[in-house]
């Protein structure tokens, strides 16, 4: 469920503010002003970047990939990478 939920008015409103939609519709990638780039020659797939990303913006995969749609550009992954395989680039 990554879509927006349409609530036009009282007609389709749950009686209490009951939220069934998921926040994943909110593409937080637009918050970013620096972007992590993984150097796959250095990456050992240790998965620390995945483990410490507060935005679940690193895939749990071998090798990991940055999900730019959601990455807020905090830089935690780059800071935590033990082999310095991630650099933060201006822009994107």
């Amino acid at each position: 469920m990554t879509e927006k939920v349409e609530i036009r008015g009282a007609r389709d409103m749950p009686p209490m503010a009951k939220s069934l939609g998921r926040m994943s519709w909110n593409k937080t990638g637009s918050w970013r002003n620096v972007t992590p780039v993984i150097d796959y020659d250095k990456c050992t797939s240790c998965m620390l970047c995945w483990k410490f990303c507060p935005d679940l913006a690193v895939t749990c995969a071998d090798p990991p990939e940055i999900i730019l749609e959601y990455c807020k550009g905090c830089g935690v992954c780059a800071e935590e990478c033990p082999v310095d395989a991630i650099v933060m680039r201006e822009g994107l």
Partner: protein, 382 residues
């Protein structure tokens, strides 16, 4: 089955036969016996409920909210300072649309410390979104609590049953208890709506902006209005079961009355005797008991009061800087209606000062004086 029971114990019995599943309460005079009795019921196994012995009224209400959010029937009782302490979360229960039921024993607010009755504690909670019933007798307390559960659970709003300290809470009266089977038929298990369920994850009450908040309030108000119909249906059903038919606004000998005394709570019963006395003397006096204060019986009071010579409202409460609260509510309902009678307000009985039949008659009499001011303090010692 009839038993002679104090008002407080009636509250406990109503929670028991109404099958409250979670009770959470904190002791305060004059409510303590409610808590003690329910503890006893739960400990003896005659009541299948969890009793959370919280450290404050605030937590009592919050625990009821949590339990209600889990889908069960939740009940609490309190008084005065306790009710005031709950204030923030009374809003929470209503806005979360959870049908918690609370019995409030009217007690005047301190300081100075006092334990005697008046209605400022419960009327201060007027705008929290709670349904409110004011009981006249111990029988009323019992019946009102069962009706409160039913109505609350149908419209998804919490409900408060209000009774006066000592005059009702500590006074034993005969009370008729319907058979449990009948009660269970009247009050089936709670339909669980707006409840948390790990199988259907959702967030409840999260950050809501101006785009949606407004409609939620509109819906809450509509639920309160819908409660009028629900109350009408529930009282009809309850009456058919017990022979006791409740009315949101309940007139007594009003048919040809020129002056109508508007009262609430236990004073309504005193008013009936006073009206009988007046009638014997040929005085065209009637009384009107407001049983349901929220939702307010606007249409009912109009039907009953328009065209009367005058209305005298006796308020055991005051909104400082304005007037008695029932008086304001009545005026708001009658204003600009054709043949709206003059409404004369009397403050009486604050802090538990007795309101006797002769006091009511004196107020009615004073109200009949064409020079009677709109607002009056009755019986202040100068």
């Amino acid at each position: 089955m009839k038993e002679v029971v104090t008002g407080n114990h009636v509250v406990s019995h109503a929670a028991r036969v109404g099958r409250a599943q979670v009770v959470s309460a904190y002791p305060i005079t004059p409510q303590t016996q409610v808590v003690e009795k329910i503890s006893e019921f739960v400990a003896d196994g005659v009541m299948d409920a969890k009793f959370i012995k919280v450290e404050s009224e605030h937590s009592a209400m919050v625990a009821c909210i949590g339990a209600s959010a889990a889908g069960v029937r939740a009940f609490t009782a309190t008084s005065a300072q306790g009710l005031a302490l709950m204030h923030e979360v009374l809003h929470w229960a209503a806005n979360a649309r959870l049908p918690v039921v609370l019995a409030n024993i009217n007690r005047a607010m301190g300081p100075p410390w006092t334990i005697w009755t008046d209605q400022i504690d419960s009327l201060s909670q007027r705008d929290t979104g709670w349904i409110q019933f004011y009981a006249e007798s111990n029988q009323d307390i019992f019946d009102s609590i069962l009706i409160a559960f039913k109505v609350a659970e149908q419209v998804d709003l919490p409900a408060m049953v209000v009774l006066e300290a000592f005059f009702l809470s500590h006074t034993a009266e005969p009370v008729d208890f319907p058979d449990q089977e009948d009660i269970d038929r009247f009050l089936p298990p709670r339909p669980a709506r707006n409840t948390v369920d790990p199988e259907n994850p959702a967030a409840f009450g999260g950050l809501t902006g101006p785009d949606h908040y407004y409609e939620l309030k509109y819906m809450e108000h509509n639920a309160m209005l819908e409660a009028k119909e629900t109350i009408a249906a529930a009282t009809q059903e309850y009456g058919d079961m017990t022979g006791r038919y409740y009315k949101m606004a309940d007139p007594y000998r009003c048919d040809d009355a020129e002056t109508v005394l508007v009262v609430s709570g236990g004073v309504a019963s005193t008013a009936k005797d006073a009206v009988d006395e007046a009638r014997e003397a040929g005085w065209k006096l009637g009384s009107l008991k407001i049983w349901a204060f929220r939702p307010f019986p606007r249409e009912e009071v109009r039907a009953l009061l328009l065209g009367r010579k005058r209305v005298v409202v006796v308020d055991r409460n005051i909104s400082f800087g304005q007037e008695g609260i029932f008086c304001s509510e009545l005026k708001a309902s009658l204003y600009s209606q054709p043949e709206a009678p003059p409404v004369l307000g009397f403050i009486a009985g604050l802090g538990g000062r007795d309101i006797k039949g002769r006091d009511l008659l004196a107020m009615a009499k004073a109200g009949e004086d064409p020079d009677c001011p709109e607002f009056n303090w009755y019986g202040v010692k100068p």
